[in-house]
Symmetry: C2
Subunit: 475 residues, 2 copies
């Protein structure tokens, strides 16, 4: 069911940038990439960002679509929301003796799978404290093996397979030869909230809490533009899938790299904002998040956004990578590990996870939070809070809280800081809050939250167990 | 919150077709429009369909996207599914003395709101009998007043507001001056399955059963191309919404025409396949379905697809039409009619319905169907069947049936006849079936079906009442 295509040439031509000289980028300097004191970029000539010239030939009747206003700097757009300062990352004693010992990490991250590889989420209260944009050092991490040591100056991304002009793009070419797009996007691990599934029946996955979710402003080249520049072939020419491959040498999966794919339709869809991202919140990527370049697919689970990106291969069939099939699937509840293998459930296309489903989480009160009941607290309302998200660009339009196990629901106030993209798509989480009388809390039977998206779909009441414990979104 | 824009010119220029001569259309003749014996088109010179020339100037790097294969004729594509023959439509005695007395209608349609205006659904078993494509005379109908008598030769669609080249398009110009697109799409009334809501508590709407859903192949000009040809202004120029207005003189709503709007983003999104449709299943539209031209917005509720289309107005604000605000809304459960008016809930943007939610229906067994229990029937499996759909282009990926009120679920076989569009979007319903031991049916506690879409969202268990009784999708 899967195949990869070998490069059609063994030597790669240099991919020429447009002939006319690119003008210097006009944005404010802090909209670009700033070097960090601890950045591995230091000394490798990280270039100023420039944009290629606008298209010279545009049909008049298409022109109206091209009237782009200059992108608003995200620091201005979300300025009131930004609380990005965190304590410095440091060498972590838990990394000593591992292949990741060279990496500085935030000490507050909660490690979910022992010491190595790193799989972690931030404390939920800290995540919420920072609001709309998550500081990169607190962003959840899902690693399958040791972190590759990327070098900006020598890193290349090979674009090959069913393209007329195969290329090896340097990081400078990616950053300077293509317009830089900035996209705010919430990344979610498909396993977010898996712990609840494991409490019902053990899945094959580890215990994600409810903080396997983080939001950044990502900056990169549009995959669509890279593929068009490289001359992606036609549908008739069988250029139907775009495969991504990382740089890790992984212990599992037959020693393969991490890899997966998206369809041609997704890869070329301008409304999806798919990037080859080389900056997060205005800084070069951190090692844990794919330095120097990763795939970004807004509205999609993190598992498709290959980090430490090395190769893009355009193929007739979807990726044949181990992780493309044996990971990130929601199988029906009756399918256990034995059946999944015996009956090849991993390969049934309908169970692949791409776009996120609708989800919501109570973050205040926190777990084990104690609210004293006294003359003071019962005089004022208690504010419940949390986050919600959906996938595929859909907006969250309603969040409700029940205190009586679903008999009645209170409408919450929504805080949606995001501005949608020019196609009306939303890629980020939002926040909700509702004031509750403390005396009502006292009598509460079961407290729960549910969100609705713009298509008037909402979350299911009951937990629906699945072998990988993924996409858990019951209220 | 709403405004309309008056035409900027009082006289309209003729919208010129492209300068080069359009080549004759190459498709097979039955892919075009055939005249019906009872068609109101007779004698008004319904023209052969032609396509405009391909774009002359296309940048090389964009060219790969333009390599369209010729569209497959839908009769060939869905040939094995087509059972379009039905008994002739006739004058219906129930229409005597009404403004609709001139219209031939299928006698089997179930009228839901008395004799006039026509609001009807086909018998569910007949709908299912015809399979993937519903014969146009059996398609559900939602009319707000008397059906306008359209005349192909003299009908025009005015395109005005924030466009540089306002125009009045004749039907010949729409059919000959723009490429004809054919799109299979399932239309669903937002009130489908409302009867279940009314059984819990009366809503403001009438009793739709589960057959307020039908599928056709629609043919028309792409709205996107019409707007670009007319020079839709920029975002900066406040061309943010596209309003549609019909031709009816309606009894309610302050005597207005039926009207609504979509955003600029939707209107210009090529992946959404929005059409100004002038043919249904290869025939001119029937009077009840908007002859000579209606809006088609696949994946969206029927209520946005204005019939008997007279005007398209590009505006800064969304439509100010009565029906845009006072219809097609899902309000939270606690909002009753009094509160909705007192607190202006109709005008809160988050409750508008556009894209369909995920839904599924059991059609076999039918209502009140009796299965005799005897030595013969208990020897063989009983096949349960039904349909499912989602909205916004999302594919149905799973359907499950429970015999025990949701404790356990059986996976159903899916029949998805549709081929997705070039952006991977699905616009149509699909069918499911599952074989059940009759003895298991005997012991069944509660039988229900639920569907999942490609984003791993599924339907809620419990009915969530809302004032308009819309988008009911509980299992």
């Amino acid at each position: 069911m899967a195949a990869s295509v070998e490069p059609r040439q063994s030597s790669f031509g240099r991919l020429d940038a447009p002939a006319t000289a690119p003008p210097a980028r006009n944005g404010s300097s802090n909209g670009g990439i700033r070097r960090r004191a601890d950045s591995p970029v230091r000394g490798c000539g990280f270039p100023p960002l420039i944009s290629p010239p606008r298209k010279a030939i545009v049909e008049e009747e298409e022109q109206d679509e091209e009237d782009e206003e200059p992108e608003e700097d995200w620091r201005e757009a979300y300025g009131s929301q930004l609380q990005l300062e965190v304590e410095p990352s440091t060498r972590d004693p838990r990394d000593e003796g591992t292949a990741d010992a060279w990496i500085d990490r935030n000490p507050s991250l909660i490690r979910l799978t022992g010491k190595h590889p790193l799989n972690c989420e931030p404390p939920l209260a800290r995540l919420m404290h920072h609001g709309f944009i998550t500081p990169a050092p607190l962003h959840y991490v899902r690693n399958h093996g040791a972190v590759p040591k990327g070098d900006w100056a020598t890193w290349t991304v090979e674009v090959t397979g069913l393209v007329r002009r195969p290329a090896r793009l340097t990081m400078d070419e990616l950053a300077n030869g293509f317009a830089a797009a900035e996209v705010p996007a919430t990344l979610v691990c498909a396993g977010n909230r898996r712990k609840e599934q494991n409490m019902v029946q053990q899945t094959v996955g580890f215990n994600w809490g409810a903080a396997g979710v983080s939001t950044s402003v990502w900056r990169g080249a549009r995959l669509r533009e890279v593929l068009l520049r490289c001359g992606i072939m036609s549908r008739k020419g069988q250029a139907l899938n775009v495969c991504f491959e990382g740089a890790e040498d992984l212990p599992g999966g037959g020693g393969s790299k991490y890899g997966t794919s998206v369809t041609r339709e997704w890869a070329l869809d301008p409304s999806r904002d798919i990037l080859l991202a080389y900056a997060q919140n205005g800084e070069p990527l951190l090692p844990d998040h794919g330095f120097p370049v990763r795939v970004l697919i807004p509205g999609c689970i993190g598992g498709r956004m290959v980090k430490w990106l090395r190769r893009i291969v355009v193929t007739p069939a979807e990726s044949d990578n181990y992780y493309h099939f044996k990971d990130n699937r929601v199988l029906p509840s009756h399918v256990d590990a034995e059946l999944a293998n015996a009956e090849a459930w991993w390969y049934r296309p309908e169970y692949i996870i791409n776009e996120l489903n609708t989800n919501s989480v109570i973050t205040t009160p926190g777990h084990d939070e104690i609210l004293p009941i006294n003359a003071f607290t019962t005089q004022r309302a208690y504010t419940m809070k949390g986050y919600a998200y959906s996938g595929g660009g859909k907006k969250i339009t309603r969040v409700e809280v029940t205190l009586d196990g679903g008999e009645s629901w209170m409408l919450c106030t929504l805080d949606i800081p995001e501005k949608p993209n020019k196609y009306g798509r939303y890629w980020c989480w939002c926040f909700w809050s509702v004031e509750i009388e403390v005396l009502d809390l006292l009598g509460a039977k079961e407290v729960a939250v549910r969100a609705w998206d713009q298509t008037h779909n909402t979350q299911p009441e009951k937990l629906i167990w699945n072998l990988m414990g993924m996409m858990n979104n019951c209220w």
